[in-house]
Amino acid sequence: LAKTTQPISMDSYEGQEVNITCSHNNIATNDYITWYQQFPSQGPRFIIQGYKTKVTNEVASLFIPADRKSSTLSLPRVSLSDTAVYYCLVGAPGYSSASKIIFGSGTRLSIRP
């Protein structure tokens, strides 16, 4: 699975837009890019997934440039409750069997009032 690199931590304020960038230089053709959010002592929660260009859902947007060597998770108008660790994962789903998810070092996002 492709190795990912994210900032260790980020700080922002309520109401701001937060962009977290993940580098994945060795991404393979079949790899998807997935972001998870984890609160303390809780299981990770799926946020968004994409393969190329832009994906948007009710929670976030994911921007993937043409070379797919990086991706940016965009959280619009963050609130205090968005304080969490955000993980970027890259990997090819298994088509005949389950595929593991390899968690790298996530980004600890702290939102201030």
Binding site: Y32, G43, F46, Y87, S97, F103, G104
Partner: protein, 115 residues
């Protein structure tokens, strides 16, 4: 909506004892994954099952074993417990393997403390 259920939520054991963690996936989900997360650490994949067969294996110690039953629930058995086994153990489930990018749904975790 139904979520992944894990039991027990908390477990305290002595060194060299055994422990069994249970996971009940979301109804109709046939794939189960186990992760271990130590204090201040990132989740580490242990093992996964698809349709009751072991599918993938990560950094699971030989002292640990797991299986998925006919009703798709899974149990993680841990023997000869060590202090370093103290961690949060998460179970996740998905509908089918991660083909096409099926997302994993994580349970609340079991906090194991080994004294």
């Amino acid at each position: 909506a139904a979520g992944v259920i894990q039991s027990p939520r908390h477990l305290i054991k002595e060194k060299r004892e055994t422990a069994t963690l249970k996971c009940y996936p979301i109804p109709r989900h046939d794939t189960v994954y186990w992760y271990q997360q130590g204090p201040g650490q990132d989740p580490q994949f242990l093992i996964s099952f698809y349709e009751k067969m072991q599918s993938d294996k990560g950094s699971i110690p030989d002292r640990f074993s797991a299986q998925q039953f006919s009703d798709y629930h899974s149990e993680l058995n841990m023997s000869s417990l060590e202090l370093g086994d103290s961690a949060l153990y998460f179970c996740a489930s998905s509908l089918g393997p991660l083909a096409g990018g099926n997302e994993q749904f994580f349970g609340p975790g079991t906090r194991l403390t080994v004294l």
